[in-house]
């Protein structure tokens, strides 16, 4: 049984945390803020997170997706804002890729 998308996001954030000056409060689960206001990731850390998640999605689900979005750096509606929004967004991209 494949793990849920949120579990995958939590895994990549946990692996990224040791390299961050201030770790993502991953114990807050889906609510943990990643990027934007009150987020601890800078744009390069966000790049690392997104790339690691793309690779994990590929390994876990066998689906190749690019998690690129026009609202990536938007302060309010970015899909990269929290663990929960990132998981939901990545899930939607995986479903899209499976349909096409």
């Amino acid at each position: 049984m494949a793990r849920s998308m949120e579990e995958l996001v939590v895994q990549v954030v946990s692996e990224l945390n040791p390299s961050l000056a201030e770790p993502v409060p991953i114990d807050r689960g889906g609510e943990a803020v990643l990027y934007g206001r009150n987020g601890v990731l800078d744009s390069i850390a966000l790049v690392s997170l997104v790339v690691a998640l793309e690779q994990l999605i590929d390994e876990e689900y066998g689906v190749t997706v690019a998690l690129a979005d026009e609202r990536a750096v938007s302060q309010s509606s970015s899909p990269f804002r929290t663990v929960g929004t990132l998981a939901a967004y990545a899930e939607s991209r995986v479903q899209e890729a499976k349909r096409s």
Binding site: I44, V47, S48, V51, E54, Q55, D58, T64, V65, A66, A68, S100
Partner: protein
């Protein structure tokens, strides 16, 4: 030590083919991409058929590179097309085709290469053209696409510098390849007359400059465009 992995777009003929041969001779693992079949048989050469602007195909290609070679050291964005025509006589289909290959494809390969290079840094070299500084008549869209390449080079250099990836552009003069086959001799001579060194660019001139950009010692060389022939 495993060989450097060098990815070259537009590798089935012309300059891309010569670059592939050149980096094979230097001991690199070379991966070529083009819309048609590859023309090189070598134990360190792998060829993929793909349209460089087809996102799904390109993602698949990078997936194979990651699973087979694990990383990428060099990307040479060489694939490019032109369509010589007066602006008034240029169909929108040609405009879209040129921008898709020369700009969208180059961006897509750079984006995906950066993901693979981020672990240990890398080198991206983009092919632009003297058509930009010479403002060549009859090449409006081609020149605009190559101006976009310079702009992308300069911005990507800044965005990718924290990942230890350098991004530079090289602008050769006319080279005897398919790209200039349709250009009348009179027009070619006019272009050469505007260069300081008034001869056609040879592949070896390009390789010399690409070697410089790819060198491990070139970590401070980024965001630059080098035109050949003294333009």
């Amino acid at each position: 030590m495993s060989p450097c992995v060098t990815l070259i777009t537009g590798a089935s003929k012309g300059l891309g083919y010569r670059l592939a041969e050149h980096y094979l001779a230097q001991g690199n693992q070379v991966i070529g991409v083009s819309r048609g079949a590859g023309a090189i048989q070598h134990e360190r050469y792998a060829h993929f058929e793909a349209d460089v602007a087809d996102e799904a195909a390109v993602l698949q290609l990078f997936k194979v590179i990651r699973s087979t070679w694990g990383s990428l050291d060099h990307l040479i964005n060489n694939a490019g097309i032109a369509s010589m025509n007066h602006a008034v006589l240029t169909p929108m289909s040609a405009v879209r085709r040129i921008l898709a290959t020369n700009v969208e494809g180059l961006f897509l390969f750079s984006r995906e290469a950066a993901k693979l290079m981020r672990a240990r840094g890398g080198r991206i070299v983009n092919l632009t053209s003297v058509a930009v500084p010479l403002k060549l008549e009859g090449e409006a869209i081609y020149a605009a696409s190559k101006a976009a390449v310079i702009s992308l080079t300069e911005v990507l250099a800044r965005e990718l510098a924290p990942l230890r990836i350098t991004v530079n552009a090289l602008g050769p003069g006319p080279i005897a390849t398919d790209l200039v086959r349709g250009v009348p001799e009179k027009k070619l001579n006019e272009i050469l007359a505007r260069q300081a060194v008034k001869r056609m660019t040879e592949p070896k001139d390009v390789m010399h400059a690409v070697d410089f950009f790819l060198s491990a010692d070139s970590e401070m060389i980024t965001g630059q465009t080098l035109f050949l022939g003294g333009v």
